[in-house]
Amino acid sequence: MSDTAPMTYREACRQALIEAMEADPRVFMMGEDIGAYGGCYAVTKGLLDMFGPERIRDTPLAESGFTGAGIGAAMVGMRPIVEIMTVNFSLLALDQIINNAATIPHMSGGQFAVPLVIRMATGGGRRVAAQHSHSLEGWYAHIPGIRILAPATIEDARHMLKPALADPNPVLIFEHVMLYNDTEPFDASVNAVDIATAAVRRAGADVSLVTYGGSLKKCLAAAETLAEDGVDAEVIDLRVLRPLDDATILGSVRKTRRCVIVDEGWRTGSLSAEIGMRIAETAFFDLDAPLRRVCSAEVPIPYAPAMEDAALPQPATIVATVRELMGRG
């Protein structure tokens, strides 16, 4: 018997943090407005009262400073969770993430691991324009030495943090801004997920839609529309953007023989390009049609609603791309 009740994505993230803080005194949080303000997306609401200012540590606006502090603390035995408000702000901490967190284990000849978790919001759709809306997780997925997670479901939001904290390596968790208010039935009998595999969210026979994060819902919606036309789409949720679960991606594509990659990042030099190339390298002769992609338009994400909607992948674009691929355009 599964015990299911509705839960928001935000609450799932919050419960995961509370569980981690209660389970391990080495875990603490640092970030901007996570304490007194309750978190810019209210994920950390109430945590300051529960755990106090030593462990729910409000920081000044110094992304590089507090991210580097997380790395140092991880190197001396703590299990820090650093929250960066949005991926755009994380660019101010790139030096620490890439030059230190990702390199020190290898550069030190394996003397140090960096067991650090960095959470940040990503993605567009909230009408907050070009400095709060980008999807740069694909960039981070370029970097060896870090694991990149993109929880797209309530269950993943609730359970990915625990294995992320148990990982001896830096783990970056990207939470899509349009997911925080999502509510889904949450199965309380599930108490663990892995952070290694992709998931088949909808089984299908005709085409694979490979996606992650905020685009998962769009792909599932597109798949329902396509089903009305008799096109049976399989939807793969990558979940882990680095290292990629090649087996699940290739297994799906070999079955359906067609693939559309849906990635909110820009097309050029993107994660979608990487996935497409991996398919081309190993499953080229299994394909019945060229690989296709639906990505964000190559523009800074604009404020005006119709303009922003046009810049981001949408179910209609995904449907149109699949129809064209299936010769049903």
């Binding site: 030190s108 000849g109 390596n169």
Partner: protein, 333 residues
């Protein structure tokens, strides 16, 4: 008073030997560079030895050190073996970082030596985290963070000084002001060249000291550490020093005159100490020769160790990109 440096003869000879070890080790590194046994960048510490020796003399084993890419002096002063250091310079598996880091990235978990950071300013946030983590776990340790005058221009410098003071962390910031960030003179880079005064703006005690005087550096470090160990939060020490050689190995030094370098050489930390010891009768005939002989023997042994070392099998290239466990936790108390 803990800031008093005992100035008896054995103590002074010890300081002299500590500086000679760095000076002569690096002279050997230059030879090995010229014969292409050491490759890449080689940033020499020639002229700045009094800074690392003076500061690290005042540390305890439980303290942590964060250094820069010009860190041979800190590594040797901290007690990282000359043999594993030389093996690292030669890119051997027997090196302290298996030859993965090289000259600029010396790490030693057992000595609590957290790099070896070649991004100017990049070590400061890391030092904040080391101190924060130590403090949260109840360790009575100070983190000493070395950086150059160039770091004062970086945002990470200001972010880190503020965080350390805001959170009252046990950090001793040590600015090795050698007057040039590569070729950029301090006076052309900073509107206020008094770097200690920048730190004062973050409400921590900040002192500038003659970085060519090892005794003065140690005394200043002890004063600053007394403040930090007493729970007073961070302190800042600006050591005014000079780099006698090129920034790295290829540098025409068009940004300074030979006369300027020669004038500073005459004020060098080893000369400074030996002159004073001679004047006061504390340096006896043969003392320096005996030190040099001992150090040279140590260097020869280190070179032999390094040359006999093995090159890592490229099959292990990906090892440690992702760690299987957290190895350093066995090393930290």
């Amino acid at each position: 008073m803990t800031d008093r440096v005992h100035l008896d003869r054995p103590r002074l000879l010890h300081l002299l030997e500590a500086m000679e070890r760095i000076r002569l080790f690096e002279a050997k590194c230059v030879e090995l560079y010229q014969t292409q046994k050491i490759l890449g960048f080689l940033h020499l510490y020639d002229g700045e030895e009094a800074v690392s020796v003076g500061v690290i003399e005042a540390l305890r084993p439980e303290d942590a050190v964060v250094a820069t890419y010009r860190e041979h002096g800190q590594a040797l002063a901290r007690g990282i073996g000359m043999d594993v250091l030389m093996a690292e310079m030669l890119g051997k598996v027997e090196g302290c970082c298996r030859g993965r880091g090289g000259s600029m990235h010396i790490f030693d978990a057992k000595k609590r030596f957290y790099g070896g950071n070649a991004i100017v300013g990049g070590g400061l946030p890391l030092a904040i985290g080391v101190a924060l983590g130590d403090k949260m776990q109840g360790r009575e340790a100070v983190t000493v963070c070395f950086f150059g005058d160039g770091a004062a221009g970086e945002g990470e410098f200001h972010e880190s000084l503020n965080l350390a003071a805001l959170w009252q962390l046990p950090v001793l910031f040590v600015c090795e002001n050698n007057l040039y960030s590569m070729g950029m003179a301090l006076g052309r880079a900073e509107v206020d060249t008094d770097i200690a005064r920048h730190a004062g703006g973050y409400t921590m005690p900040a002192e500038a000291v003659d970085g060519m005087d090892v005794v003065a550096v140690e005394a200043a470090a002890r004063r600053a550490l007394e403040h930090v160990r007493g729970g007073g939060g961070p302190a800042f020490l600006e050591c005014r020093t000079y780099r006698f050689r090129a920034h790295s190995m290829f540098d025409a030094q068009s940004y300074r005159t030979k006369e300027e370098v020669a004038a500073w050489r005459d004020k060098g930390p080893i000369l400074r100490l030996t002159r004073w010891m001679t004047e006061t009768g504390l340096l006896h005939a043969g003392d320096q020769a005996a030190i040099e002989e001992r150090v040279k023997a140590e260097i020869e042994a280190a070179v032999a160790f390094a040359e006999a070392g093995t090159l890592e099998d490229p099959a292990d290239l990906l090892k440690f990109v992702s760690m299987e466990n957290v190895p350093q936790e066995g090393a930290v108390r």
